[in-house]
């Protein structure tokens, strides 16, 4: 009996001894996301920034859609590509010095904000519209807008629509969109305001919507302009001409980085990484000439790239953070052309042109 108890006691001691040495070991050794979550929660409690967490973890957890054409799409080899995916890489290059240190997490629209709140992702680059309620009630903070989108409609030229058509011209049409999104409400509001009656039909996803448009079950389809342009470029049958209208979208959809609120250091890092790509575009700085400009650029360029008088170290980033961004990922124009030109979206004349060219893309000065 006593011998038994003694054995048991020894067993318990041995197990707990190796157990305790072990658990500390585990948390430092493994780099999985849920592990990071706990670290993040405790750090937040101590008032430390997500910026330090990301640096110590060595990877950036970036929430993307994974099925948003040209913004974040899973490639045939399982890698993530697109405009949003590249902006995740921009942030990773700025904070960690390596654009490939991104762990992409595919999120549905429903779970995206929870994922930020629970710390599953550090940052959302998931074509998320900046709205007042999300900024205040939902507890998100928004970075600089990377893409100005807006809801538009698409119809057939043969039905009498043209680029200059207005919402008031669509009376009596069958209008289709995907279910459960704000696009549904926007078009209903716009039609009511224009005083026309429409028949609104919703489908599970936009692939189905487009197929119904092609088959003729829908007269008009509506969603964000960027998606419509992509559909027109890829799916318009020959012999038909699809037109997108009205020229001024019926809603404003500024898309950009989103992160948890009240973390100034992390917010600054993300925002200035985005601004750096815009300033580089203004200065004609791109991935091909960045090494040359490091010595021959103007004072602001050299400061931005980490030369004399640089400001990055003060905000917790490496001095050459933006040099890494430009050389590894590129400036705004490069990112835009690489991802969005192939689906037929061009910068000229759109809201996404540089402010010097009549667009809205603008960054505060780096000084």
């Amino acid at each position: 009996m006593w011998r038994l108890l003694a054995t048991l006691f020894a067993l318990a001691l041995a197990a707990s001894a190796c157990g305790s040495s072990d658990s500390s070991d585990d948390s430092s050794a493994s780099g999985s996301s849920s592990d990071a979550e706990e670290t993040e929660v405790t750090l937040a409690a101590n008032g430390e920034s997500l910026l330090d967490t990301v640096k110590s973890r060595g990877t950036l957890n970036c929430g993307v859609s994974g099925s948003a054409v040209a913004f974040s799409e899973l490639q045939a080899d399982g890698s993530m590509a697109g405009f949003d995916a590249d902006y995740c890489r921009v942030v990773a290059a700025a904070i960690l010095g390596d654009a490939n240190k991104v762990n992409f997490v595919s999120l549905t629209a429903a779970e995206r904000f929870t994922a930020v709140q629970t710390g599953d992702v550090d940052l959302l680059m998931r074509n998320t519209t900046w709205t007042q309620s999300r900024d205040s009630e939902v507890g998100m903070d928004f970075g600089p807008t990377t893409y100005y989108d807006g809801q538009q409609l698409m119809g057939r030229e043969s039905d009498g629509f043209s680029g200059s058509s207005q919402v008031s011209d669509v009376g009596g049409s069958v209008i289709c969109t995907s279910a459960g999104t704000t696009t549904e409400k926007n078009i209903a509001d716009a039609a009511a305001e224009a005083g026309v009656s429409i028949e609104l039909q919703t489908f599970e996803d936009f692939d189905t919507v487009t197929n119904n448009f092609i088959s003729g079950a829908c007269d008009i389809i509506t969603t964000d302009g960027s998606a419509l342009v992509g559909r027109k470029a890829k799916q318009q049958p020959d012999g038909e001409n699809w037109v997108i209208f009205p020229a001024t979208p019926i809603s404003k959809e500024p898309l950009g980085p989103t992160y948890g609120q009240n973390d100034s250091a992390f917010a600054d890092a993300v925002n200035w990484a985005v601004y750096a790509t815009i300033i580089a575009d203004e200065k004609g700085l791109d991935s091909s000439n960045v090494d040359m400009m490091l010595s021959s650029g103007d004072t602001e360029t050299i400061r931005l790239l980490g030369g004399e008088g640089e400001l990055q170290s003060g905000m917790g980033l490496p001095a050459d953070a933006f040099y890494q961004v430009i050389s590894q990922v590129g400036n705004y124009d490069e990112i835009y052309s690489r991802n969005l030109n192939p689906v037929g979206l061009s910068r000229e004349g759109s809201a996404n042109a540089a402010w010097t060219a009549g667009g809205l893309v603008y960054a505060p000065p780096a000084r």
């Binding site: 009996m1 038994l4 108890l5 054995t7 048991l8 020894a10 067993l11 318990a12 041995a14 197990a15 707990s16 190796c18 157990g19 305790s20 040495s21 072990d22 658990s23 500390s24 070991d25 585990d26 948390s27 050794a29 493994s30 780099g31 999985s32 996301s33 849920s34 592990d35 706990e38 994974g66 099925s67 948003a68 054409v69 040209a70 799409e73 899973l74 490639q75 045939a76 080899d77 399982g78 890698s79 993530m80 590509a81 490939n100 762990n103 992409f104 997490v105 595919s106 996803d205 692939d207 487009t210 197929n211 992509g230 559909r231 890829k234 799916q235 020959d238 012999g239 192939p342 689906v343």
Partner: protein
């Protein structure tokens, strides 16, 4: 009568089985006209039904063919995304691991097929009918398909002035499909030759071995990889560009591994045949059974292993800990089963249980940090100690308990070390395993793990002890009262929130746990159905010859009950396999989701969805049909439904 068959199979019964196997459905062949009159046009109702059915079949076939060969189909989307459909993000540099594990399975399958080479034969008549049927169907397909649309020199469709599509003439279409015609004619001729030579009255009942037919088919399929111009389609990761070259054979990295797989299958089959005749046949059969049991664990090791797995940690902590639990736990159990321990044993077991439960409670408050493995092991040890009085006395029984404990410890520690290891393979997205690989992996593991659990639950529910009955019944009813989706969401979202600090559960492990628990509840009910078919006489007879409860269950009751429930169990396997598509809900990329939402979102293949889904449907059908066929064979072999 059944009792007699349990022990030694009587020759007459054996003969009966062989008869059934060797000559399935011996239908005297009638002249075609007479057969048609008797079977399809026997009355006017039948004639109407036949014509109606024929029209339906014709339009269905025509519809499918026109869909598949339509000029609107973009099959390139599926071809270039094959890798994504199969494994999604699994890194190409680590593909060798997938092939190694597939090779392991191929070799083992070949070995087993060779060892149990009672595959019997398939009558030449059936082979030739099958060949002729396929050839005929192919010929019908070629005729029924709509003539193709004419493509201009720029590769675009040509339209007439009215804007309708211009199609080639029927004759042109037939000429252009000459390669299809040749294939159809070759099949037909081969079938007819076989029929003439071997199915005549003199050769009645002549057979080909099933295995050689299968190997011939597989060999031809692999050979076609080397010579048939399937085309070379790929996505080049470095340049982010798509390669689509028709008229070439498939890539070297595809044909070589499959050839090796076939070679492994064949050579191990031969080895199995040789070993079967050797004196160690029985021993090797046992070993191969054991290998099958171990192989899923090996696949864990090979496919999912973290390449940067810290062997230092394994050697310094995991291994000693497993050994310590095995040895010390074994010692505790050994001494607990001594005769004369008496009440002290119960006291110790209860204390152990208390200690184990305290550890779990403590974990939630973070008082007493230790590895999860230790907590689980303590709990298991407590249960084993509670069982100890049943194994008291003889050395052999005591040894059983200790060996059982060692086995369970080894298994639990192995799984806890391997499954719950976060993978650090360098992948660009979080979806490490996806596509068909994920689907098959989850289905396989869930079926394997839920089977023993389900049997235990069924036995518990039919047990005489109220506590077992109550626990099993409430478990089964609770789980069956909840949809699978909510179980999956519970395990992937809620359970991680309940876990104390420092404890984590990999997403895949969470899914496997939840799905296994769910599947086991349904399986238990299927097995219980089988248990209820066992008559009371069986139990009484077993008791009368002095079998213990355990012997009665494992030698008399379960074999009969499981045999009876084969159809339901196979149904369960099939539905488990198909329901893996629900993994998409909790964010995993099973291969239906890849076809349904990943491919249509690539800007190269925007909105191209139907092609992928058709392929997914075909693959699901292939697997499920194979399982179903195999189960029919199994049912015939055990004589189910014929007694």
């Amino acid at each position: 009568m059944q009792d007699a068959n349990q022990g030694s199979v009587d020759p007459e019964f054996q003969q009966g089985i062989e008869d059934r196997e060797s000559s399935p459905h011996e239908i005297p062949s009638l002249p075609v006209g007479q057969w048609l009159r008797q079977n399809l046009f026997s009355s006017w109702v039948n004639s109407v039904l036949t014509l109606f059915g024929g029209f339906l079949a014709f339009f269905a076939l025509r519809g499918v063919l026109n869909f598949v060969f339509s000029e609107n189909r973009q099959w390139d989307a599926v071809r270039t995304n094959l890798r994504a459909l199969m494994t999604l993000s699994y890194p190409e540099s680590q593909y060798i691991r997938v092939w190694v594990s597939l090779g392991f399975v191929a070799g083992l399958a070949g070995l087993s097929a060779g060892l149990w080479a009672n595959w019997g034969g398939v009558s030449v008549k059936r082979v030739s009918t099958w060949l002729m049927g396929t050839g005929g169907l192919l010929a019908v397909c070629v005729i029924v398909r709509e003539p193709s649309v004419i493509l201009g020199s720029d590769g675009k469709v040509v339209r007439t002035l009215e804007g309708s599509l211009q199609r080639e003439s029927f004759l042109d279409a037939m000429v252009n499909r000459s390669s299809w015609w040749i294939a159809a004619v070759v099949l037909l001729v081969a079938g007819i030759v076989l029929w003439r030579r071997f199915a005549s009255a003199t050769h009645r009942g002549s057979e080909l071995p099933v295995t050689s037919v299968v190997f011939l088919g597989l060999g031809l399929a692999v050979l076609s990889l080397w010579i048939a111009p399937y085309g070379h389609y790929a996505f080049i990761s470095e340049t982010k560009s798509y390669v689509a070259e028709s008229g070439r054979t498939v890539a070297f990295s595809t044909k070589l591994p499959w050839t090796v797989m076939l070679a492994l299958l064949c050579s191990f089959f031969g080895l199995g045949r040789l070993l079967q005749r050797s004196e160690y046949g029985g021993l090797i059969k046992g070993a191969s059974n054991l290998l099958w049991l171990v192989s899923p664990l090996t696949l864990f090791w090979v496919v999912l292993r973290d390449p940067a797995l810290d062997y230092g940690h394994v050697i310094s902590t995991d291994l000693p800990m497993g050994l310590a639990f095995g040895a010390l736990g074994g010692a505790v159990l050994w001494s607990l089963t001594r005769t004369g321990v008496g009440e002290a044993g119960r006291l110790v077991a209860t204390m152990l249980l208390g200690f184990a439960i305290f550890n779990w409670v403590a974990a939630f408050f973070g008082w007493y940090p230790m590895l999860q493995k230790a907590r689980i092991s303590f709990l298991l040890l407590a249960f084993a100690a509670l069982l100890a009085p049943n194994f008291m006395g003889e050395i052999a029984k005591r040894r059983q308990l200790v060996l059982g404990w060692l086995g369970v410890t080894a298994l639990v520690h192995y799984l806890a070390t391997m499954i719950n290891t976060p993978s650090t393979v360098e992948v660009q997205s979080s979806e490490f395993l996806g596509g068909l690989g994920l689907t098959l992996f989850v289905a396989l593991i869930v079926v394997l793990l839920s089977f023993p659990l389900g049997v235990l639950l069924a036995l518990g529910r039919t047990s005489k002890f109220p506590i077992f009955r109550m626990l099993s019944t409430s478990y089964i009813e609770v789980i069956r009262g909840v949809p699978l989706i909510s179980v999956l969401i519970f395990f992937s979202v809620m359970v991680p929130l309940f876990l104390p600090d420092g404890m984590e559960l990999a997403e895949l492990a969470a899914v496997l746990t939840g799905y296994t628990l769910f599947s086991a509840a349904y399986l238990a009910e299927n097995v219980r159905g089988g248990l209820q078919s066992i008559t009371k006489g069986q139990y009484e007879a077993a008791d009368a010859i002095g079998l213990t409860a355990a012997q009665r269950t494992s030698f008399i009751v379960l074999p009969q009950a499981l045999t009876v429930s084969i159809p339901q169990l196979v149904g369960q396997v099939i539905s488990t396999f198909k329901e893996t598509s629900l993994l998409a809900i909790i964010g995993l990329f099973d291969f239906l989701r890849v076809a349904n939402s990943v491919i249509p979102a690539q800007s190269e293949f925007l909105g191209v969805k139907r092609e992928g889904i058709l392929l997914v449907a075909i693959i699901y059908f292939f697997f499920n049909f194979t399982i179903s066929k195999y189960s029919q064979r199994l049912e015939r072999r055990v004589g189910l439904g014929e007694r």
